[in-house]
Amino acid sequence: MKVLIVEDERKAGRYLQQGLSEAGYTVDLVGDGVEGLHRALTGDHDLLILDVMLPGMDGWQILETLRRGGRDMPVLFLTARDQVEDRVRGLELGADDYLIKPFAFSELLARVRTLLRRGRGEPEPTALQVADLELDLLGRRATRAGERIDLTAQEFALLKLFMRRKGEVLPRSLIASQVWDMNFDSDTNVVEVAVRRLRRKIDEPFESKLIRTIRGMGYVMEEEGAR
């Protein structure tokens, strides 16, 4: 998967490049708008990460030119201007998502994965499995090692998110947004409590634990020994 980052702040750009490279992506980094547009038009990137404020040509202009040129790869905007008008403008022009600076890297990674997955157009699975934990999406049933686990609707939604994004670190804000539609800085205590309750049901009675806390980042669901 190739990602193009257009970001003029060198330090931020380099760390984004490093972070995404370590997450398994091939990353190109460009520091100005005109060069960025050129690389986006000529390259074969699967995703574009665009800063709004760029020297030469701003993010909006790049996006507009790209879409007019028929390039429809997903575009994630990074903006320090958290004005809603800007967001609306970005989405009208065909941006797929946006992140407001400052943002957490884990949040960015989660969004990048979502965008790339959306681009692939995978069919919605009817069942999910992580180790011996199984989730039947149609019957809304969870079993672990053959044992039936009773879940509330919230817990079901939370578990579904974890299992679909197996191996990805999910920041608390992303969980709040995906499960409860809380698209703002909400009381993240709530997420901690909800995850704790879910763990009580799916992890505590069993030997191997599936949900891990990554301090300072969020939670990840993976088989023990996967890392």
């Binding site: 958290d82 004005q83 809603v84 008008e85 609306v88 407001i100 400052p102 943002f103 957490a104 919230q154 709040a176 409860w180 539609d181 809380m182 698209n183 703002f184 800085d185 909400s186 009381d187 993240t188 205590n189 709530v190 901690e192 409590v193 909800a194 309750r197 301090r215 300072g216 980042m217």
Partner: protein
């Protein structure tokens, strides 16, 4: 547009204009009176001469014929050489002085007017005034007669010329004097404005406490001084709040930055194992996370100070939004052994995300301060033009001075009371207030012992008028 003339110039010109027009008018009235007086004097004089002449003409013993009449008239007015006499006897011709001619047509004009008529005319730069009358003949052999007597009135003319000259000079001097007076008076009159100007020049951000002396300025300026003082009071208050906010902000930012800095410096001061570095980095992430969300909140509040716009407005069913929030807080409430309850329903036009965030903060706050095994109750009450939502919890009583500061930025309340929420930097209620105000609503808190009740009043349509204080009173 050109700049208007100075007040002093305007007042001076006004004084000059008014005084010279009054004096000119007065001069004209006096001139006319003197002129009339002279005419009266001349008429009396001429009338007596005319009467004497009439007596002579009607005397049966008077000589007949022009020549005889001439000598009789000469004889009669011997002592009065300035007097000019004309007598026209129809059929006989005209008796007239040798050195003066009447304006043409006078004799014919007065041929049959029995009333005496006064008139004046110029002859060789000398002015004369005459009195003309026609006399009915008393003798059958004599035709109708027209008699004119006239005198030189040059001395009147000279008097009037002198009079006019004096008057002109007087008016000019008086106008100048009054102009000067006006200039002086206006300078004096606007002196208090200069005082206000000097005081205003002393005002800087540091000296906003300066006030204008409201009692020592003239009554007309008291209102201005008072309004300016009110303006300064408002500015001072806003400025103080801003200054306090800036210092709070610096303080709030310093703590996490200081933590990160110290921790990092200690960590790199000697070699450690990878796990220790990891610990430091994770701790840094936590501090920076706090900073980051604080910055986002600050940005929101800074924008709110400029007046927050609603990005999009849609019908929002409050009980649905609160229900969704309850789902979110459900697990937390259960852990804290607090029950969340909502009663009533209502719909308003507003921004869903902003309203959700506002109530989320209120519910989070209520949960944080609730005693275990108690309810947090939200009541939605529909009023005529607005909707009241109350959020109640039972917990440690609010201190009396707390309720007024609760919505202040960075206000955290008693640190001993309740647990510290994650990322709680004391901006939550300030943000809630800003979001509610963006909907032209109001929020206030009513502490009643252990019961703390927040009351949010939201207009059903944000373009409508905000509910007045009086109306909001019966919400309780």
């Amino acid at each position: 547009m050109s700049r208007p003339a100075s007040l002093t110039t305007r007042l001076t010109l006004l004084f000059v204009l008014v005084s010279s027009s009054v004096l000119l008018g007065l001069g004209w009235v006096l001139h006319a009176a003197v002129e009339r007086h002279f005419v009266e004097m001349d008429r009396d004089l001429l009338q007596s001469k005319l009467d004497a002449l009439e007596r002579l003409l009607k005397d049966p013993s008077a000589p007949a014929g022009l020549v005889g009449l001439q000598s009789a008239v000469d004889e009669m007015f011997r002592s009065d050489p300035e007097l000019k006499v004309w007598v026209q006897i129809s059929g006989d011709g005209v008796l007239s002085p040798p050195d003066l001619s009447l304006p043409s047509g006078i004799l014919r004009q007065h041929a049959d007017s029995p009333e005496p008529h006064i008139f004046s005319w110029w002859h060789e730069d000398v002015r004369y005034r005459g009195l003309a009358q026609s006399l009915q003949p008393t003798k059958p052999d004599v035709g109708p007669q027209v008699v004119v007597v006239a005198i030189n009135i040059d001395h009147h003319e000279r008097f009037m010329a002198r009079y006019n000259q004096t008057l002109t000079v007087f008016i000019a001097v008086a106008a100048l004097l009054s102009g000067f007076l006006g200039w002086w008076a206006s300078r004096r009159g606007i002196a208090p404005l200069r005082l206000i100007q000097e005081r205003a020049a002393e005002v800087t951000a540091r000296h906003l406490h300066h006030r204008f002396p409201e009692t020592s300025v003239p009554r007309e300026l008291t209102g201005l001084a008072h309004e300016l003082n009110c303006m300064f009071a408002r500015l001072e208050e806003a400025f103080d709040r801003l200054a306090a906010f800036s210092s709070d902000l610096a303080h709030e930012l310093r703590t996490p930055v200081n933590n990160v800095l110290t921790q990092t410096q200690v960590a790199i001061s000697r070699d450690r194992d990878a796990e220790s570095y990891r610990e430091v980095l994770i701790s840094n992430v936590e501090e920076l996370d706090r900073l980051s969300s604080m910055i986002s909140d600050m940005l929101l509040l800074a924008k709110a100070d400029d007046g927050l716009n609603l990005p999009s407005v849609e019908p929002v069913r409050l009980e649905q939004e609160i229900g969704a929030l309850f789902e979110f807080y459900d697990a937390l409430a259960e852990e804290e052994r607090v029950r969340l309850r909502v009663t009533g329903q209502g719909e308003i036009s507003g921004n869903r995300l902003m309203l959700r965030r506002a109530f989320s903060n209120l519910i989070s706050n209520a949960l944080r301060h609730s005693f275990p095994d108690h309810d947090v109750i939200l009541r939605i009450r529909e009023r005529t033009d607005w909707i009241d939502v109350t959020v109640e919890n039972t917990g440690e009583p609010l201190q009396p001075q707390e309720s007024s500061r609760l919505f202040d930025r960075f206000y955290r309340g008693d640190p001993a009371r309740g647990r510290q929420g994650s990322g709680g930097v004391g901006l939550g209620l300030a943000i809630t207030q800003a979001l509610i105000q963006a909907h032209q609503g109001r929020i206030r808190v009513e502490p009643a012992g252990e019961l703390t009740r927040f009351i949010v009043s939201l207009p059903k349509r944000p373009d409508g008028l905000p509910p007045s204080d009086r109306l909001a009173q019966d919400a309780s």
